[in-house]
Symmetry: D3
Subunit: 179 residues, 6 copies
């Protein structure tokens, strides 16, 4: 298997969960360093994107503190706003980030865009995604279920409770207008 | 009940109707002055947002001329374009508007965003919204119903007819592309 | 029938097909010159807009090379990004394009916007659109059907195969996230 | 002299001063109503544009309270962000504002843009501008002079002192970087 | 000397002049087809950029009609707005334009950006630029000189007079504010 | 002296130099963690901003590797694009970054904007800035001087040579147009 200097791992992290730890660990097997791109950084306070990029940044670093030893030596966290031009997105990342050699992503669009720019694109294995995904966690909260709490370590659950994540999501679900 | 110097009342006003008059009257009980924010000011000519901000500004002032005595002494009308970053929206309003102390809105998102910035947020009573809402008025027009006309004073109906509101909405409903 | 110096023909061309040739031929009966606006030029790599504006530009010129003699004498191809303000869009086109007298479009929104600015707006006849439309072509590809290939000349099918159009669309259909 | 229903008076109001009162009075001789556009509304905290649009809105209403009787009956204050496309600016104003028939402005660019769109454009007389202009007021403050204070009524000077206008300008003059 | 399928020739064309004809002729020696990018397409009505992109498009086609036989067979004119991110600009052009192999430009920044993306960049010979350049033509008009008229064919001078180019420039020079 | 959890240190880093190391060291005396904001991240390839944000990110991490032991434990590097609304900038940073308590900056504008939002703002001591500043380094390179090389450790000089920093700056100085 190829060994890289640096790979990109983009995600929305709404919210961060154990699947993301697995994903970053997988990328760290492929590369010395990993740049975690916290995408759609301009979005927050919607049902699809409840958390700000800053909150996601903070939660992700708490999660990695718990689950990934000495992560700061090898992982960068970088919030990145959408550019609304898919054909330019990878070049935009190249403008913003230190040199990278490819991407690790479960999203076909991301892999297509990197491949078309001549980068390598890895599809990660699934890590029982059926349970832990941002989409499912948000849906379960709105349905009043609690199984999603198994997807996060205790420290992160505490922080989500402290910032009122579930409550924000429920309040937002009462509307579909922006004012 | 608290008395304020100035409160914000955001809305889309597609189109303005009697519910909006009630809303502004309610805000004027809470504050000396009210800043009515005509939101999503960049939008027009769609099924969700048929009118331009300028048309809404004009219709709203006609409506208030009819229904709210001496409104100009205490009410400002201000068109505001979306900023596409919810977490920054209230600060953006603070940049654009004279000093305000809080908001009156039926939209939970709006109230959350103001509260997180340390402002007071009032939820107005319902004013029989079940009948008069922009969404319902637009839907009734497309279904060929006319009960919505009870939601507006005669003067405003005339103006909506003059600018061809119902006809624009019907023509727009024939498409979903932007060209 | 009125004779014009120059008319605009906006479209998304996802992908270009024989219906577009008919549309441009129709416009060329009405005007000496036609400006084909390749709209939503910032969009690509989505199910609604799989091709970049540059790819559409290239495919459209190949299509016209095949089907419309000496087209370069009378047709301009111009990619145009969306401005996200419908009420300003026609003035924005006026800023970007050489002088024009009106539009030819099957899209009611486009015709409304041109008419409100005082331009003439022609609705083209239907050219058996029921079969050949971008929407239908994209849907058939995703359903594994091949009848859409009758909507394009052989030269264009080859080029679409060369750039991997159908494959891109299928890969994109596996996701709905942007990374 | 022509009589209008509504005219636009654009300005930057950095800060508002007696010259602006004269300008608005002049426009009110020409029209029943005047829309004062507080332009470059996105700008603040620079040497050219020290005040936010909200501060300018607030100061302008204090100034008019002092100097122009019953101004609220006939004057609208509307903050408007720049659109960065001169050829589209007047159409953009048309999108945002109630119907207007022309402009009053000492700025040739503004008059050109309105005239090209078919509006009437009035050039106001000079009102001893040699003394009272935003540019001169800002320059005098930086040079430590105080004659500019004659350009404003006492009430406005107090408010400028309260928000620390002169101090902000002096602090900003120590830098030319944005961070 | 290398032979190319298609090259890009960017410029601002404020206004188009004989130097541009020489530049395009030079590019046509190097490539079968040339894409003339009318840059900074959002700019107009300033001293640096007096003409709209549409006016420049129109004037350029008149100029080529006069001076370059059968130019439409091999030259595309494409207005392109600035993207405000130099590091992404060439990829943005790639998104908008049919496939190209390189650039011809007297501007070092343009050549650097293309070279960094792996394209070939040609520096054109000078064509007595000392006399005919947009900058010099605009300066001479403001100084009341007329030697610049030798830089344009008669047909183009007529059109510049018709649209009031010199007059617009002079009126704009009376101000430095945007309203 | 107050002790903080996290402070922001914004800069442009064109290029990074020893003054920046001192600045970050100073901030690390005041806070457990420091978020270094690489500002104006959209800018590159100009005389004021020759390097991309990605290059600055990379150079800064090399510099800190040389000069600041175990920096990754306590320092985050985050590229941030300008928002063009000073009054909203700090809230925009709050949206993007993990929670912070204030700023360290030599730029008065930055300190004003943080203070107005209720944050603490520290002015760092000068560190012989008279010699090492981005502005002076860029100016010396263009004047053909070499004293600036004392402002950087050997490892960083090598990297600047490798990416052709001085050469890029010199080539850019031959022009002032963007194409």
């Amino acid at each position: 298997m190829a060994r890289h200097k640096r790979l990109v791992v983009p995600g929305r992290f709404q919210p961060p969960h154990m699947g993301h730890v697995k994903l970053i660990e997988y990328a760290l097997e492929l590369a010395d360093e990993v740049i975690v791109v916290i995408g759609s950084a301009q979005e927050s306070h919607t049902l699809e994107n409840p958390l700000t990029a800053g909150e996601r940044f903070h939660l992700l670093s708490l999660l990695l503190n718990e689950e990934l030893k000495a992560w700061k030596e090898r992982v960068y966290l970088v919030p990145v706003m959408d550019i609304q031009m898919n054909a330019v997105w990878v070049q935009y990342l190249k403008m913003l980030l230190p040199p990278f050699e490819g991407v690790v992503s479960g999203n076909p669009l991301v892999r297509i865009l990197f491949e078309e720019m001549g980068y390598v694109a890895y599809k990660p294995p699934m890590f029982k995604r059926s349970l832990c995904s941002g989409r499912k966690i948000r849906a379960m909260i709105l349905e009043g279920k609690s199984e999603w709490r198994d997807c996060l370590p205790k420290r992160l659950l505490e922080e989500l409770d402290r910032i009122g994540f579930a409550e924000r999501l429920k309040r937002l679900s009462e509307t579909d207008e922006v004012g």
